[in-house]
């Protein structure tokens, strides 16, 4: 006789059915692919004309090659990582600030919000690449940044720089400032999603907390550090993780791995590069995550 299932078991089965499509995809595309990537990284891959491939195990040769012999990989990896680590605090802080501004009530808020989320449409993929290519065709990569700023503002940036130099500011400091100013566009462009997440977080803070702090006579400054900041701190972690991953996916390391695979057809080396960069980023995520969890305040 068939044993009847309890309600709990029934619900468990239904629940599993709900996530089944995802589970199949995860097993088929993620787990299998991850294992294969590691396998590729440890072997020399010969691609047959029919599209198949043969793998010969070579141990750590690909890793050695990537670190010791490849012309650019080391440099690009280190540069990308430094870029990521420098930009993340700026982006997160900036987006928190903007979220607070956009969350307060003022005339024309809808319009400003729409403008702020435009970079989601502009900032990614083909449009950006096309524009960069178009600028590069004229200027060559390095000069592209200053021209990007200059015609928009209608100001001669070089002229201002020369004035600052004549005043006697150290060149190093000036370089840093120029880098920061040139980077503002990057930061603004990279922080739209983070602003959205922070606005959602700010909306979920209960108004009674603000009422209490107002009645108790807290200044806005104190209210920010004692109420707003702790309440949105769980989302800071989310945003930091999102920013790191987003920056990493768009970094040059990925480009190098991609071109190694599809221009030079060196699958093994490309996989090794992917594995190295991914492991490093995961380590960074773990360390940063650990640090941030310590200052995070959980309401419940």
């Amino acid at each position: 006789m068939k044993k009847r299932l309890t309600l709990r078991q029934k619900r468990a089965i239904t629940g599993f059915l709900f996530i089944l499509p995802w589970f199949i995809g995860f097993a088929l595309y993620y787990v299998k692919s991850l294992i294969q990537t590691v396998q590729f990284a440890l072997s020399k891959i010969d691609i047959a004309a029919s599209g198949g491939y043969t793998a010969t195990f070579t141990g750590l040769d690909n890793f050695k090659y990537a670190f010791l012999e490849h012309a650019q990989f080391n440099q690009v990896l280190v540069n990308s990582l430094i870029d990521i680590l420098l930009d993340v605090p700026f982006i997160v802080f900036f987006s928190l600030l903007m979220a607070i501004l956009l969350n307060s009530k003022f005339k024309g808020r809808g319009l400003v919000r729409t403008i702020f989320f435009l970079p989601i449409l502009l900032g990614s993929g083909a449009v950006l690449e096309t524009l960069e290519l178009a600028t590069q065709n004229i200027q060559g990569g390095a000069a592209a940044m200053s021209t990007e700023m200059a015609p928009v503002a209608g100001v001669n940036v070089d002229y201002f720089l020369s004035i600052l130099l004549e005043v006697g500011l150290p060149v190093r400091l000036l370089d840093f400032i120029v880098g920061l100013v040139g980077g503002i566009y990057e930061i603004v462009r990279a922080s739209s999603v983070q602003i959205i997440i922070f606005i959602a977080a700010l909306q979920s803070v209960s108004p009674s907390l603000y009422e209490v702090s107002k009645i108790e006579g807290a200044t806005p400054y104190e209210t920010f550090w004692k109420v707003t900041f702790p309440m949105v701190s769980p989302l800071i972690l989310t945003n930091v993780v999102y920013t790191i991953v987003d920056k990493f996916v768009n970094s040059q390391v990925v480009d190098i791995a991609y071109s190694t695979a599809f221009t030079n057809y060196n699958y093994g080396l490309s996989s090794a590069m992917s594995v190295i960069s991914t492991v490093i980023v995961c380590l960074i995520l773990l360390i940063v995550g650990g640090l941030i969890t310590k200052i995070t305040f959980y309401y419940n």
Binding site: R11, Y29, L121
Partner: protein
């Protein structure tokens, strides 16, 4: 005389009406200062964002004589539609756009159903290894896709349904150069940023009151009926959020399109990236300064539809962000 003034000042110090007035003026001044400051910051950043767009718009109307005229700034002397005409022609605009929109909305629809189902499953049901499986969802969010791109490429290069098809027909299928791989991946919940959407839906469903489902259950609704007819309807805010994100990202995505070498003629953003070289070779416009104008016009043409969709959905979208979702 002096004594008189000192007395007057002492009187003023004790005069509460005066003190209140003073406090009020300081307060008004402060808030005025703050809103000016806020206004300047918001204006500046809006300008940073809009600057390049304004530049693109004005440049797309430049005629070739305006490009080399140093006195022309933002407003062209001889505005022309020629750039748009040629970009429109070379993009094969309506046909490509139609294909792309079909592709993007198909993927978005599948992604909505699959990720919301998974999110609901994680939010409401208890089954063994649930925590571990959800950790796997987080991994798919965090793990950069390029790590697994080669195996994926090989997988779809020699595609086979668990080795069954090879036994029957004796060959493997090459699914590349078509959109099929993307449909398959999306169908199995591992499409473009599916992990993030599962996360958003799970957070949202967790926030909904359990009583709704219990009432439906007592009234005799099955679990699938409850999900499609009741829960999904209640989840409209996050459905809109996910729709906007999904459409915009799919529309802009180049990584998968390139990886699976989908045909250029069908994907409008991909086609845009080759527009400059097309114009250079087909129309013999070799000067990059001038062929760039066509790219600007093309960028506007490509952005316009997604901008319109975004503007239509954005009111609901903001509401969705505020009410739902992402936070839980």
């Amino acid at each position: 005389m002096v004594r008189n003034i000192v007395d007057q000042i002492r009187d003023l110090k004790n005069d509460t009406v005066f003190i209140n007035k003073q406090a009020r003026y300081i307060h008004i001044f402060k808030s005025l200062l703050f809103s000016t400051f806020k206004f300047i910051i918001l204006l500046g950043i809006s300008f940073i964002i809009l600057g390049p767009i304004i530049n693109i718009i004005s440049n797309s109307f430049f005629s070739s004589s305006d490009v080399y005229n140093p006195s022309v700034f933002l407003f062209p002397l001889r505005p022309t539609w020629e750039n748009f005409r040629l970009a429109y022609l070379r993009l094969d605009y309506w046909k490509t756009l139609g294909y792309t929109l079909l592709y993007v909305s198909g993927l978005t629809l599948i992604q909505l159903v699959i990720t919301s189902m998974a999110g609901y499953g994680f939010a409401r049901f208890d089954f063994p290894f649930k925590k571990l499986l959800f950790a796997c969802v987080i991994i798919t969010i965090v793990l950069p896709t390029h790590t697994i791109m080669l195996p994926l490429y090989q997988h779809f290069r020699n595609w086979d349904l668990f080795g069954i098809l090879q036994v029957i027909t004796g060959k493997k299928y090459n699914l590349l150069s078509k959109e099929t791989p993307m449909y398959l991946m999306t169908l199995f919940g591992t499409g473009l940023r599916s992990g993030l959407f599962i996360y958003i839906f799970r957070q949202f469903f967790r926030g909904l009151p359990k009583e709704i489902e219990e009432a439906a259950f007592i009234d005799g609704a099955g679990m699938w009926y409850t999900y499609f007819r009741i829960m999904l309807v209640n989840a409209i805010p996050s459905v809109v959020t996910v729709t906007v994100f999904s459409m915009v990202w799919q529309y802009n995505d180049m990584f998968y399109v390139r990886l699976f070498s989908m045909p250029t003629s069908r994907n409008i953003t991909f086609r845009l990236s080759t527009l400059q070289s097309t114009v250079m070779f087909l129309d013999q416009i070799k000067d990059p300064m001038i062929s760039q104008l066509y790219v600007y016009a093309g960028v506007l043409l490509v952005l316009l539809p997604i901008l319109i969709i975004y503007l239509i959905l954005q009111r609901y979208f903001m509401e969705g962000v505020e009410r739902s979702g992402i936070v839980g």
